[in-house]
């Protein structure tokens, strides 16, 4: 079965006066129908740029450089996201593809009642007032909010409730794909747990596919089926959560998972060095200056994302039989 979202060779960057600084480089990724896929990485790794590019919401100086993205939302059609004109894209967004940007719980209009803000979106997509009302209430129930909340103003709600309103709004058209960027970052742990569990419930109930962008390995471990680890604009490793957390392949994923503080009095070491910014991505493998296993080809040749089997993918010369045999 073809993937719900197929990303190939996607590159995006920042337009400077003379040249484009690449932020996301040559990303290949398949998002399968019904899965929760986590994209993790430290700040500046390009994960949010990738999410924005998927939504085609990059704004100057951000530019899309190359690649293709095909969405098959299950209506029998395949949409080439990079080729769609803006008006068709607008209809596609929310209906098939919705987006919960970072910090969006603070994006509700303070002078409009919550219900009105939800129905406005739906009416834009051709629903009648009554249908829009019905859909909004149904969506609020999905996130365990009472229908009477539609009469509230955003300031009357707690942060967790506002985030739930945003989620309800994003799922009210029953989209095939939901892209959520740092959904629970500003919330308390108990609220975070509830919202993530609600999100998993929405996946089960609506059969939606969810792409979660986060810096928090814990969030990914708790609710994702698969995880893509990003480093310096590229996917370093991709695989099912259990396998990846248990035995990470890429030295960066190893460092990232190894540096998680745990209890029991055992000390862990942080990752030495700093992640590079897009203005000074190193040549070859972008992780090589920090890598404990660095060898000759790493500084010259960028490793390709290859699969050593088991649905695992990693971009590291250590796992490339051709490079290894040349050594």
């Amino acid at each position: 079965m073809p993937a719900l979202l197929e990303i190939r060779g996607l590159s995006a960057g920042l337009q400077g006066r003379r040249s484009v600084t690449q932020v996301v480089s040559n990303v290949d990724l398949d998002v399968h129908a019904g899965e929760i896929l986590g994209i993790v990485g430290e700040s500046g790794c390009g994960k949010s740029t990738l999410a924005t590019a998927i939504m085609r919401l990059l704004v100057p100086p951000q530019v899309l450089q190359s690649g293709s993205m095909t969405l098959r939302p299950g209506d029998g059609k395949a949409y080439d996201l990079l080729d769609l004109p803006e008006n068709e894209l607008r209809q596609l967004r929310w209906r098939h593809l919705s987006y919960i940007p970072q910090g969006s719980m603070n994006s509700l209009n303070p002078v409009l009642r919550v219900g009105r803000q939800m129905t406005d979106t739906l009416i834009q997509h051709g629903l009648s007032q009554d249908e829009a009302q019905e859909r909004s209430i149904a969506a609020l129930e999905l996130v365990n909010l009472e229908p009477r909340l539609t009469d509230s103003y955003p300031h009357e709600l707690s942060g967790g409730m506002r985030q739930r309103v945003i989620i309800a709004s994003a799922v009210s058209m029953r989209p095939a794909l939901i892209v959520a960027d740092e959904l629970t970052t500003a919330l308390d742990v108990v609220t975070q747990r509830q919202i993530l569990q609600e999100l998993a419930g929405i996946r089960d109930e609506l059969g939606a596919t969810i792409l979660i962008i986060t810096h928090d390995m814990g969030v990914v471990a708790q609710i994702a089926d698969r995880v893509a680890v990003m480093y310096a604009g590229k996917i370093a490793e991709l695989g099912r959560v259990n396998g990846l957390f248990e035995a990470p392949l890429h030295p960066y994923s190893q460092g990232l998972i190894g540096s998680i503080p745990r209890g029991g009095g055992q000390r862990v070491q942080g990752l030495p060095g700093e992640a590079p910014s897009p203005w000074n991505y190193p040549n070859g493998c972008r992780f090589h200056p920090r890598c404990p296993h660095v060898f000759a080809p790493c500084s010259e040749q960028a490793p390709a994302l290859l699969s050593p089997g088991n649905g695992r993918w990693t971009a590291c010369h250590l796992y490339d039989p051709e490079v290894a045999s040349n050594e």
């Binding site: 430290e42 700040s43 365990n144 707690s158 942060g159 967790g160 409730m161 308390d188 742990v189 108990v190 609220t191 975070q192 747990r193 509830q194 919202i195 993530l196 569990q197 609600e198 419930g201 810096h215 928090d216 390995m217 814990g218 969030v219 990914v220 471990a221 708790q222 609710i223 959560v241 259990n242 957390f245 248990e246 460092g255 990232l256 998972i257 540096s259 998680i260 503080p261 745990r262 209890g263 029991g264 009095g265 000390r267 862990v268 070491q269 942080g270 990752l271 700093e274 992640a275």
Partner: protein, 326 residues
């Protein structure tokens, strides 16, 4: 041995008409021997307010803070200077503490000058070198650079280098790692552990992130809406929390291990959010409306912290404010 710091019946009420009890009768002590104590709670639990009061930045409505037996708000100039040197703060935002027009290492130079730590320029440079190495920074990485040229992790460690120069007895660290990257967090926490072990510096570590508190070990104080719900040794509380709130909080940590996922689905439960029903006064258990084990009594009067025996006999310091244990 006398305690280093004693917090007694601290209360902080903000605002006029809708009075907010940010801190409501909090007492604890930091012993003289080097320790790390974590103050954990969700937003609105009062943890940062407590930090601000201890630092002398805020006058409490009631209660007092004693440093080596002296009330920090009734002090003379000389004592004040000593206190400022011995109790150092590290704040959450590693961006806003620096003046962007000066070079970042000015925070070190100022301390050396103001507190007369070095007699000559060469001595000052040696001191700076040593301080930077103590926090895993290479001097060439940071010296002569402006704050925007450093990463969040570097800036936060530079603040620790400043603290190191002062050789304080106590660090008040308010969410120091919440804005730095995962890979860097462990190194920052390791420095605090080193400070305690090698230099005898204690830390009051304020956080909403229980996994960092767990890593640091020591003791833990769990706050909820301005009150202490439970306190004890960190490992004991994490493994076997007694207060229903501590149980809820600790079970909600997103453990970075896919084989240990959350068991119970909380999403359909009663709307369990702090402040959901602040109405029925404060002379009661503030967790009552969210508590799965709530009893008649919980609504009647405030439960006070009292010592509770736990399974682990080695742990003698556990205190819980809950009627289940009285």
């Amino acid at each position: 041995m006398n305690d280093l710091l004693v917090v007694e019946g601290l209360q902080q009420i903000f605002g006029g008409r809708d009075r907010t009890h940010a801190v409501d009768g909090v007492s604890f002590r930091i012993p003289a021997e080097p320790t790390i104590i974590s103050l954990v709670g969700e937003s609105g639990s009062g943890k940062s307010t407590i930090a601000r009061i201890i630092l002398g930045l805020l006058h409490p409505t009631a209660g007092r803070v004693l440093y080596e037996g002296t009330d920090i708000f009734t002090r003379d100039r000389k004592w004040n200077r000593k206190f400022r040197g011995e109790v150092q703060a590290v704040f959450q935002d590693p961006y806003s503490v620096y003046n962007p027009v000066y070079k970042a290492d000015r925070v070190l130079k100022l301390v050396i000058r103001k507190f007369g730590l070095a007699k000559t320029k060469a001595e000052a440079e040696m001191l700076m070198d040593e301080a930077l190495r103590a926090v895993d920074l290479r001097p060439e990485e940071v010296l002569g650079r402006h704050p925007h040229q450093l990463s969040g992790g570097q800036r936060q460690r530079l603040m620790l280098a400043r603290v190191y120069l002062m050789r304080p007895r106590l660090i008040i660290a308010d969410e120091p790692v919440s804005m730095i990257d995962a890979g860097m967090r462990a190194s920052f926490l390791n420095i605090l552990l080193d400070f305690r072990e090698t230099h005898g510096i204690s830390t009051l570590f304020i956080t909403h992130d229980l996994s960092t508190a767990m890593y640091l070990g020591g003791e833990i104080i769990v706050l909820y809406q301005g009150r202490i719900m439970e306190r004890g040794q960190t490992r004991g509380v994490m493994d076997d929390p007694q207060h229903p709130y501590a149980q809820l909080l600790i079970s909600s940590i997103p453990t970075p291990d896919p084989r240990r996922r959350w068991e119970e689905d909380l999403s359909a439960g009663p709307l369990a959010e702090a402040g959901a029903g602040i109405s029925s006064g404060r002379d009661r258990c503030l967790f009552a409306e969210r508590c799965p084990a709530v009893m008649e009594k919980c609504w009647g009067a405030r439960p006070h912290l009292q010592a509770v025996d736990v399974d682990d006999a080695a742990e003698t310091s556990r205190h819980v404010a809950c009627y289940l244990y009285s």
